[in-house]
Symmetry: C2
Subunit: 102 residues, 2 copies
């Protein structure tokens, strides 16, 4: 059976006018997160039609990968400290799925 | 138990220089797809760091939703006829998951 992994889809909605300000911290957070032992994939994308709407695609090798990620120094410093204050809201879903990693 | 739906994640990689040309047909395909009875969600996003890399997030109310989508006139006309020839490759994964729709 193909490997099971935690698929995380995080929709981030920036406060009006804050979209551009998200790109740099998300780039930094992406690089740091990919270095986490449990991380299999981390990329962020932006809607061409709504510049305040981003989606982050993440995969972790274990069910607790997202919880571990959220406790890291870099998530606390960049995610909680810089990115989240720029946001209006977040919609995060995660599912254990089977299949090859993206 | 929360509703089960088909979560589709489609990574589209445009041939070099074709990224901008994808936005209009993807916008048209998105509007037509959202009108499909079985579609729950359809949005496309673009990597700020790699302008040729797009991801399409789709949700369907039934396991055969993606197959039905691919048979529609609009997918054949826009997807097969316009978008796919602009692409270098596609990576599409789909999983039945439970939980509220995004």
């Amino acid at each position: 059976m193909a490997d099971v992994y935690l698929q995380v889809i995080a929709h981030y909605f920036a406060k009006p006018g804050n979209g551009d300000a998200l790109v740099k911290p998300l780039t930094e957070l992406a690089a740091a997160t990919r270095a986490e032992p449990g991380n299999l994939y981390y990329e962020f994308f932006r809607s061409p039609l709504d510049p305040e709407h981003f989606v982050i695609m993440e995969q972790y090798s274990h069910a607790d990968g997202l919880a571990v990620h959220r406790e890291t120094e870099h998530f606390q410093r960049i995610g909680v400290g810089i990115i989240i204050p720029l946001l209006e809201r977040r919609e995060v879903s995660s599912h254990l799925v089977s299949g090859d990693t993206a």
